[in-house]
C-alpha cells in the first residue's frame, strides 16, 4: 500500500466550519468523538446523536433522507463506525439519495477504546469504496483548502456524497450531548414538519 500521509486537520475546526454552514440540514452523528464534535459546534434538536448502533449511522441517514427528500441530510461519523457498516455504501448507492452527504472524521483510530489503529491507517480508502459503490461524489480531504471546496458540494449539490476528512488524534474537550434515545427522537420529530403528500 501507498506511503502513509499523516493527518493534520483539527476535528473541532472541521466540524465547526461544516456545521456553521448547515442551514436547514438534518444531522446524524456517529458514536463517540463525532458526537462530541457535533455537540461542540452547537446543539440542535435536529441533531440525532447515536451512543451505540455502531455501523448503522449511514443507514439512519438513508432512512431519513428517503423520508425527507426536500431536506439535506448530513451524517457525521468516524472511520471505525463506517468500517463496521461498509455494505451500507452499496445499499445507499443503489438508492441514489440526492440529499444525503456523509462526512467521515477519519482519524484512523478507534478513539473510545484506547486509540487502536483502524483499517484506514493501513491504507483502506473509504472514499474510493464509496465511489466504486456508485456514490455521485467522493473524496479525501487532507487540508483546509480542500475542505473549503467540498463544503458547498456536501450541503447543496446532488449526492449521495462521501468525504473522508483526515483529522488528527489530538484529544478535544469532551462535550456530551443527551443520551436518552426517547428524548432525542421526540425533540427531532417535534422540530421537523411532517412532509405534505
Amino acid at each position: 500500500m501507498a506511503q502513509h500521509r499523516k493527518p493534520t486537520l483539527d476535528r473541532r475546526k472541521v466540524a465547526a466550519e461544516l456545521l456553521n454552514q448547515r442551514g436547514g440540514a438534518l444531522v446524524v452523528a456517529g458514536l463517540g468523538a463525532p458526537c462530541w464534535d457535533t455537540a461542540a459546534a452547537g446543539d440542535s434538536p435536529l441533531n440525532f446523536y447515536t451512543w451505540g448502533a455502531m455501523g448503522g449511522a449511514a443507514m439512519i441517514g438513508l432512512g431519513l433522507a428517503l423520508a425527507q427528500p426536500k431536506r439535506r441530510v448530513l451524517v457525521i461519523t468516524g472511520d471505525g463506525e463506517l468500517l463496521m457498516g461498509l455494505g451500507s455504501l452499496a445499499t445507499i448507492a443503489v438508492q441514489q439519495p440526492r440529499n444525503l452527504s456523509i462526512v467521515v472524521m477519519d482519524n484512523e483510530h478507534y478513539g473510545e477504546t484506547g486509540m487502536q489503529q483502524t483499517h484506514t491507517r493501513f491504507g483502506v480508502d473509504l472514499a474510493g469504496m464509496a465511489k466504486s459503490a456508485g456514490f455521485r461524489a467522493a473524496g479525501t480531504v487532507f487540508n483546509a483548502a480542500q475542505l473549503k471546496s467540498w463544503i458547498p458540494r456536501l450541503l447543496r449539490q446532488p449526492g449521495p456524497a462521501l468525504v473522508s476528512v483526515k483529522v488528527t488524534t489530538e484529544r478535544a474537550p469532551l462535550v456530551l450531548p443527551d443520551r436518552d434515545g426517547t428524548s432525542l427522537c421526540r425533540r427531532f420529530r417535534d422540530a421537523l414538519p411532517v412532509p405534505q403528500r
Binding site: 440525532f48 451505540g52 448503522g56 432512512g63 433522507a65 428517503l66 445499499t91 443503489v94 432525542l184 427522537c185
Partner: protein, 187 residues
Amino acid sequence: MKVSAKSEPPATSHESRPGPSWPEQIHRILAENEVRQVSYVPDSGHARLIDLVRADKGMRAVPLTTEEEGVAMTVGAWLGHERSVLLLQSSGVGNCINMLGMVQECRLPLLMLVTMRGQWGEFNPWQVPMAQATAPSLSAMGVVVQTVDRTDDVEDTVGAAARLAFNTSRIVAVLIGQRVIGAKQFK
C-alpha cells in the same frame, strides 16, 4: 376486502386459493398502515411480497447487503415521519441483534416479518441453529414475538402485529413458519 372463508385448501398449499394470497394480504396491510419504506435481504418465502412492494409506487423497496442495515434505516425513517418494515429470513435475525438495542432505546416502532427456515422438514443443517435461536434471541432484546404456522392466520396475525407495533411504539416480529411457506427443496 376480507378473504372468503368458504373453500379452504390444506394449510400448506398456496397455489390455488380463492381470493388474495398471503403475500398479497400482507402487502395490503402494509399499505393500510401507511408503510413507505420496505427493506429486505431477499428470501424465497418473501419473493412474492417483494415483487408487490417493488411494483407499488407508494412504497420504496430497499435491498440491503445485511439485515441490520434495515434496522438502522427504520430509525432514520421514523425520525423523518415515515413508517418502515423489514422483511427477512430467520438466519438474518442473528445479524440484527445489536442494532435492535437502538430501536429499543428510542422506543420507536419496528415491524419485522421473518420467514422461517430450520423448523419443519429442513434440508440444510446450517439453517437450524439460528432458526431455533430466532425467538429466544428476539425476546432477549425485548421484541414482541408472534408466530403464525397456518396460511389462514397470516392476514390476522400480521394485521394485529402492525397495529401493536405502530400503536404502542414497539418492535414486533412475526415469525412466518415453514409450514406456511413450504420447506425449500434442494433438487
